[in-house]
Subunit: 441 residues, 2 copies
């Protein structure tokens, strides 16, 4: 994400023409084409857009694109202006509100498209947040910081570790809740990671994202953020969780357990769902409704901080015709544990079984989950499952494949040997293993 | 699947004792333990069961397990009996009914557990079917054959080809509908495969499976099979489709398009769902209700048979921290096309992009789908997506990752070069690319 400047998205002869006249994105320009002259703000362009167009926003708010071959002249009228109105000053903190940190790791929610130019810019000081979403000042005594600004597909286990360590510092620093803004692509993985690294924390740790950026009328950024701050500052439970729209409307935000949540739609606002579980809470019309029992209470004395994730775990989704050699390749590359995402109740082709057995004998952990997503692995029903169990594969019940991968990355960093990895993987840590009665089909 | 015989599941000293007295599964035996004698049928055991128990079914229908250390003596009373009642003779065909083939490839629906011994046996002559589900004789003039008896996780692209070729023979042989019984684990993949190999067929081709075996009171085998035969024999449309329970109750069976269906629960009877689409039909209380327009009509003149699947396609699910080297490993192993199952709108880590670009330049096809399952890839929204498009990755819209993999396996067998693969992948063949208006989030 870059502040709008330069000639983002322009290339070739169009770029050269704009450079010649010293025009930059956000400048007011006049473009003469044929018999007409158009005056407006020079807009940023996507890299893949046709490079032969100059795009300006007219005073009526519409954008027009003018083909470079029609352009007779471009004149720069005025340099990019500062926004006409300065953001309002930060409202004074109200007494008695809980101290909540909003920490940004990147993603759509932490950015906004500059409505004037189409450029994307980060907006993540507490002042920014409060100017965009003034309601927040009634909910919490807010602080904000940027940990990093990454598209979430670029996060790795070492980033999970960094986030966990920063949250631990915030806990020790007296914050009463932490909100983590995060790209939605891999938010479920990161929420699972913090669930294992920060066990029974004393305060809520709430991930939040946006499916639609805040320049769009359909944006979910503000409503999700308000709900996340509400949960972080006021929930009676202290769980690692994800707060996102529960359905298409703005009035209900679901709060999902960090180990149970999955992004199940590419674009809809209610993309996040709890799998094989109910959301642990909802924020309905601004009111928090707890929806689960036996949650870790705020102020829990049992907090234990167990950072560290290994990069030697892998997740392998099986499909018909998959080459079993991929397992050996991973082990030869140094991987020490593999989560299989099998078919149905937890199966892979019989041809995998001798290889899996051999690798387990060499000390590699194999755990089984199901690509069905819903339901639970049950490897005692069919011969293939029983053979895999005999070979030493650990059935991970109804653990999500993604959560199982994250947990394995964590377990490999905390266990001394294969037996300990197995034990950790089968130990309930943060609600990742379901209650059998809930998921019966 | 094996007919019950021998000492399936018994091992160690328990097995030796049974062998000594010549007892086999299904035999009537008497076991003396302590002061008591138990008489009943010797039951098969799962391989993983505790090996130190002898299990018999008592005359009251209950099974008991007797620990080997308590067993004083085992006596064989009588050899395994034939079932007391022969199956009823096949009812005569009713005139005017459509000629339907039920072809078995394996799976739960094609097997039944012998209620006497717990062993699994195949039951797939037309006589067997009609004796189990006599209603079928009112729906179609039934024929049945076993193509193979495989757990569906063991199917590969070459099995898809075999099934396709056999169905083509049946079409040419004058059948008016084909039902394919199939293990549910990979039924979606096989249904997609036949959708590409048998384009605009003149008759319905209906996959059917069972989530619960027919010995269980909750079995869905009979109701699914009745609906599948109904669709095969009587549907006005001729599509490759999957007929399975629409919800927990027996009265509604959903008919899913072969390219749109996914197993979304490990065990529930309504595990199969159409993704980003509605079912094309339902069978409600025995009546067929068509639910989609523009279906390929029965008797279509446009049938084209295009068999052939390449084993050089791969499906790779991305996750945070995934090593990009896996792509090179696959290409070095001879793979010529890779479907990426990216995050969100179709993303992978930026570190993948230079490698992907390089491999595309070497002639490898890369297609992008989303692990969100619902919704569609849209790679023009974020920088990562745009960079991947620039590198030459083909965005596969709302195609299911599994369907995209199957289609790529098919396309690689039918295209001369990378450009042709791209063109085939983006050409609508069997409803695999959705109608944009349907899936808006």
């Amino acid at each position: 994400m870059s502040i709008n400047e330069g000639l983002q998205g322009y290339s070739g002869r169009t770029r050269r023409l704009l450079e010649e006249v010293g025009a930059e994105i956000g400048d007011e320009v006049e473009v003469r084409a044929g018999e007409r002259a158009y005056r407006g703000i020079l807009m940023a362009r996507y890299e893949l857009a046709d490079p032969d167009y100059v795009v300006i926003k007219l005073p009526n708010g519409y954008n027009i694109g003018i083909h470079i071959s029609d352009v007779r002249e471009v004149r720069k009228i005025a340099s990019a202006k500062k926004p006409r109105f300065a953001p309002p000053p930060r409202p004074p903190s109200k007494p008695g509100l809980p101290k909540v940190m909003v920490m940004s790791t990147g993603g759509t929610i932490a950015s906004r498209v500059d409505y004037r130019t189409g450029g994307v810019r980060a907006a993540m000081t507490a002042e920014d947040l409060l100017s965009i979403v003034p309601e927040l000042s009634d909910i919490a005594d807010l602080d904000a910081k940027i940990l990093f600004s990454l598209f979430s597909e670029n996060l790795t286990p070492s980033h999970w570790d960094e986030i966990a360590k920063e949250v631990d510092r915030l806990i020790r620093g007296g914050f009463e809740g932490v909100v983590i803004t995060h790209g939605t692509d891999t938010m479920g993985y990161s929420a699972a990671a913090l669930s294992f690294a920060l066990q029974k924390p004393p305060i809520p740790i709430v991930f939040v994202g946006a499916q639609r950026s805040s320049d769009r009328p359909s944006s979910d950024a503000a409503t999700n953020l308000i709900a996340a701050v509400k949960v972080a500052g006021h929930a009676p439970f202290a769980e690692v969780c994800v707060a996102m729209h529960a359905w298409h409307s703005d009035n209900v935000i679901a709060v999902h357990r960090g180990t149970r949540v999955r992004k199940l739609h590419t674009s809809s606002r209610d993309a996040f769902k709890s799998v094989n579980a109910e959301p642990i809470a909802y924020v309905m019309d601004g009111e928090l409704k707890v929806n689960a029992r036996n949650l870790n209470p705020r102020g829990s004395d049992d907090y234990s901080f167990k950072p560290g994730f290994s990069s030697k775990a892998a997740l392998v989704k099986f499909y018909p015709g998959m080459p079993a050699e991929i397992l050996e390749f991973l082990v030869e590359s140094g991987y020490r544990g593999i989560i299989l995402e099998g078919t149905g109740l937890g199966h892979v082709a019989s041809s995998f079984i001798p290889r899996v057995r051999q690798l387990i004998e060499e000390g590699v952990f194999f755990g089984m989950t199901s690509q069905c997503i819903y339901g639970r692995a049950n490897m005692r029903v069919y011969e293939t499952g029983r053979d895999l169990l005999k070979a030493g594969v650990v059935s991970l019940d109804d653990m999500l494949p993604e959560t199982a991968y994250v947990k394995l990355s964590w377990a490999l960093a905390h266990a001394g040997d294969l037996e300990e990895v197995r034990e950790l993987m089968l130990t309930q840590i943060a609600g990742e293993i379901g209650n059998r009665s809930m998921a019966s089909g």
